[in-house]
Amino acid sequence: MNSDKQLLSKAKIVVVGNGMVGHHFVEEMAKNSDYEITVLSAESRLAYDRVYLSSYFSGKTAEDLALTTPEHYDELGVIFKTNAKVTNIDKLAKVVTTESGDSFEYDKLILATGSYPFVPPIPGGDVEHSLVYRTIDDLEAIQASADVSKVGVVIGGGLLGLEAAKAVKELGLETHVVEFAPQLMAVQVDGGGGRLLKTKIEELGVQVHTSKGTTKIVAGDKLRYKLCFSDDTELETDLILFSAGIRPYDNLAREFDLEIGARGGIVIDNQCKTSDDDIYAIGECALWNNFIYGLVAPGYNMAKVAVKDICGEEAEFTGADMSTKLKLMGVEVGSIGDAHAKTEGSLTYTYENQPEGVYKKIVVSADKTKMLGAVLIGDTAEYDSLLQYMLNAIDLPEAPEGLILPMAGDKPTLGVDALPDTATICSCHNVTKGDIIAAIDCGAVDVGQVKSGTKAGSGCGGCAALVKSVADNEFEKRGVEVKKDICEHFAYSRKELFDIVSVEKIKTFDELLNSHGRGLGCEICKPVAASVLASVWNDYILKKPHLSLQDTNDTYLGNMQKDGTYSVVPRIAGGEITPDKLIVLGQVAKKYNLYTKITGGARVDLFGARVEQLPPIWKELVDAGFETGHAYGKSLRTVKSCVGSTWCRYGVQDSMTMAIDLENRYKGLRAPHKIKFGVSGCTRECAEAQGKDIGIIATENGWNLFVGGNGGMKPRHGDLFATDLDDDTLVKYVDRILMFYVQTGDRLQRTSVWMDNLEGGLAYLQDVIMKDSLGITDALEEQMAAIVGSYQCEWKTTLEDPEALKRFQPFVNSDKSDSNIQFVTEREQIRPARGEEKIAVTFITEVESDTTEKEAVAEEA
């Protein structure tokens, strides 16, 4: 870096402000090494992610939010100063000066000063617990105030106000939102959407007060303050958070004679230049075409344009789309283009489903051929395709309402092929379909490379699915088979490996690798091979040749916890357990001092077992009649059940017996991912069966079968597969479905994704399973019968095998235990000690020379 600096020819670039946009500029600019870049930040830290600011209250730290580090800037050769507010610009001498008197010369100056929250001048508003929401320092202040408050009010019900309200709610305060306008999010959402949004947000326990102008703030009677409204009503609160809009930081431009807009903002042209040829303004401080963009994507675009202009390349900022999709306190909201139908002659279609809390509206041109805008509340599934219709002026289908109606038969789906090359796919990084094609032309061979080459998907992440389908579509068009290779060692998908193993009767990983793979394998292909071998041959998984293939969870038959200990989850089929067995669990937990918890899967988990304790613990459990619960495997987990007709006055079938039978039938089955079942005794659905891979709900006449539900990251309800089945047919269908899934599912694909990816989806699966359209149902049933017939409890088998037990000794040459595993007590049970709670144990981490050997390096606490 030093030698670089000595090159006198380097032009100097000074960036004022290190917000999201200023930082993006630096990263783009640093790609060109002909310039010396200096960044001056008024804040005490370098750039961080303001968009995800709210996640600070759900556990993210300032470090997590950081977009860069001093080391990273050093690496880029960027000079930076924090706590360096620029207060003077000398345009003639081309020097800027900071508050503390440091001066910096520039050839080109970039103003990226962003904006600040507007606090309306309400009498009495300037009090201690009146705060704003913009910086990490603000968050710290909010946290401190919330610690001594019970009630919080957010003034302003726009997008940011609602985010702020979420934060206040998460801090545990009773939360209110006060909005001057008659509805929430008036900029993005129309009246109808606003009404529904209000209801949904109130359901979440935030009280919304619309059409309320705050006239003054006075001392409260019961709480710290009292807000007085123009309609003579009042609201008491402890904390006040203003979110009434933003104002550009244009003070430098104002004081040093750069052109500013009538209502503020530094005026820029299409090259992002201000009225001074050597000064650019980008991001939220810049006014383009009389408009300030309050989003990062347009700011990033401006940064790119400014970089190009400085480097002498042609580039233009031509405005940006302001469509937004977000999840506000769990409510999905989408706003596209002309949401308020302001365009002359525009027509609207509206769909509202009050019981389900869904509101959708599309705005189309007078001739009904083009999409102009849309509002989506409660369900934004169609956001991507509606946005593409608008951005690319794609011709609408005959009946545009089909785009938002639920179950509109063949819903017109927008194929990625229909998108023009100019279609924006990732708006955070302004990546078009053309850019993705170009990346593929330049040699990208999979989606990962497309993403790293174009940056698509590395911003908000919302476009990931679209990026993948555009790229896959492009690969397919070129006859490049879309790589479903599981990893660099096997050019096959899981299904192809399954076929190879069964057809060629391959029994070990080494055989498979020698005949069809390369290298030594890895942590991806080995467990896949193990799962396939287990499904085809159903061997005991710790048999020598398979042992090294398994993930640690499978090797040690327990889930590894963060400190290297394991959890113990015995099977409790259907959740039914005798008092005696419950006592055994308690006794074992007590004897080995294990943390004990009822799981979300309705069984008992014992945590904190060291490897060497696993065999004795399981010996006691197996002796008492327990079996492994496979909580570690990609296999059947639980069959959750309700008591059904045996006890419940509404039950119409014996769901308990059905659940236990099913759990015992499929336990141990290895699959592409875990499998969960639910069985409910009546339509009240207490077992939440529709949220499971296989859901079974009792009817007067038998059972309704649902397939493809799951919770987790992307919850989905199962699809109704068949109705009123008798016991035998039900089991027959489930046999076939599971075996078909085991054979054809991809690695880590839950049943939902698998079914959706089958060409023809649910209907196709119904044909295969119930009409035997592929002529394979007999084979599927036979395979399942073979697996059911050869079940063994992996723990029982392990305990009988001295060779296998050797694995559970922590050290090959010592009887000691790992001294780094330490616990402390919390709520009368153990939990892993945190770094700072650990008692330092001396050990050397590196051995370099004789001298270091003597310096015992204490473990970083």
Binding site: C522, E523, S548, K562, F811, V812, D818, K854
Partner: protein, 128 residues
């Protein structure tokens, strides 16, 4: 142990039959880090992960067992294999790869110690 072992040498850890093919075992190295001549010895424990990859060029590797990212002594329980021909172990906690040759982490700026190891007369020996 009465003698101080400031001198590095090949020391036997276990029998080669204790190795598990294509997988790892863990050994505890206890060293005397003596403080000069006064005899107030300090014993230092070091955990090492030993991997046996008969299909690789080197066949046997020894690295530190402490995962600097997951902050736990678990590396010997990771799956081994190769990434672009570099023999690696994948941490069982968060799956980062560590090179068995250099100890370098392929995903983050972290590394683990590497030890010289050999099999001599059916005995596994580490140089420390």
């Amino acid at each position: 142990m009465t003698t101080t072992n400031t001198e590095k040498t090949w020391r036997t850890i276990c029998d080669s039959s204790d190795l598990v093919k294509d997988s790892g075992i863990c050994a505890l190295l206890v060293k005397d880090a003596s403080e000069g001549s006064k005899g107030n010895e300090q014993r230092v424990e070091e955990q090492i992960a030993i991997f046996h990859l008969p299909n690789s060029e080197e066949k046997i590797f020894a690295v530190g067992n402490y995962d600097p990212i997951g902050k736990a002594n678990v590396l010997y329980r990771g799956i081994v294999g190769c990434i672009a021909d570099e023999p690696v172990v994948a941490s069982p906690l968060y799956k980062q790869h560590f090179s068995l040759k250099t100890g370098r982490c392929l995903q983050e700026e972290q590394s683990i110690a590497v030890y010289d190891i050999r099999i001599e007369n059916e005995l596994v020996q580490v140089f420390y």
